[in-house]
Symmetry: C2
Subunit: 205 residues, 2 copies
């Protein structure tokens, strides 16, 4: 017991973690996620072999942490969308006119999406439709709340169900991203077009 304590204290003094294996694993996971993010940003078809090489780890280590390309894309999608969810929370969904709040939210989350367009595209293709939906549940339900408030306040249309207006936002955000990926819009042009189109599609007549 005593020697164990002492060795623990010694390693703490040297700044070495008490669980070097776990620290290694965390470093590898961080390297894999960073490498995967940049591989998918260049090429949505990036393979596990390419990602392992870019992360500087072996395939066995890569598969030890992420059992498949799908598992890795799922983790990346989860991280990217939870950043968007954080933006949603800090946007103050329940404050200000709902249409202005939606615009602010779209503008501030666009930067995050823009950075991850190809990865999100790859994830939408690789993961089952239900898994993709599950990753979006937080964002979609916050959007539903904002749109419902806007309908009550008379700024958003109420001739169509709220779930459809949420789908409209989601579909047009994706379409704007696709136009950037295809090189037909710069990121700013896409955001302006999205903004103008959503304004007229959602506005009460």
């Amino acid at each position: 017991m005593e020697s164990e304590h002492r060795s623990g204290a010694a390693s703490a003094r040297r700044g070495t973690p008490a669980h070097p294996r776990r620290a290694d694993a965390e470093r590898n996971i961080a390297a894999i996620l960073a490498a995967a993010t940049s591989c998918f940003a260049r090429n949505p078809n990036a393979s596990m072999t390419e990602i392992a090489a870019a992360a500087g780890v072996g395939r066995v280590t890569l598969y030890g942490h992420f059992s498949s390309r799908e598992a890795l894309l799922s983790e990346l999608m989860e991280r990217a969308l939870s950043e968007v969810a954080t933006v949603l929370e800090t946007t103050g969904l329940d404050e200000g006119p709902a249409d202005e709040t939606l615009r602010t939210f779209i503008r501030s989350s666009w930067q995050l999406l823009d950075r991850n367009l190809r990865m999100l595209h790859a994830a939408r293709r690789a993961l089952p439709a239900e898994a993709v939906h599950d990753h979006h549940v937080g964002i979609l339900s916050a959007m539903d709340r904002l749109i419902t408030r806007g309908r009550q306040e008379g700024v958003f249309r109420d001739d169509l169900p709220a779930h459809w207006l949420v789908s409209t936002v989601y579909a047009l955000v994706q379409a704007a991203g696709d136009q950037v990926e295809a090189g037909r819009f710069t990121s700013e042009e896409a955001l302006d077009a999205l903004d103008a189109t959503l304004a007229s599609a959602l506005r009460r007549a």
Copy 2:
């Protein structure tokens, strides 16, 4: 020579085609496409094994005609979209007010899309993005022509590029299909919502 002729004439009299192998192949292809259409209509994840069984052919025959699940989905997508292209041509794209023509086109092609929602969903996931785009080129360029005419006539907005308005139509048609697939809309509700949303999204302010 004579005996060949005679045998040809005899088979013609019996109603047997001169190239029985080709006729067999055509029957098999027709059976495979019909079976694949109904398998994918039930389940977008349908496998080649299921499709071979439903078509009453062996896997070797199936793979002899379609080298992969992707090749089969590509053929089905091509056929479904060429039906839509035919509707586009018979809609008379250059006649009538452009916004009314677009509504007519959306309404008449919706029935075709509605029947093939799950297959198209499976094809969009299985095929490379460029292949999916190539299958849609005819429809998208006809839509571009109609939207460009509507802008010249002053019914569609011209503050945003035509290619974006085409993407908006395409994205919202897909979103409407997804709502039907998810059971949140009946086919008619989806079409009505699509119609109302496109009207306000495309209209000149």
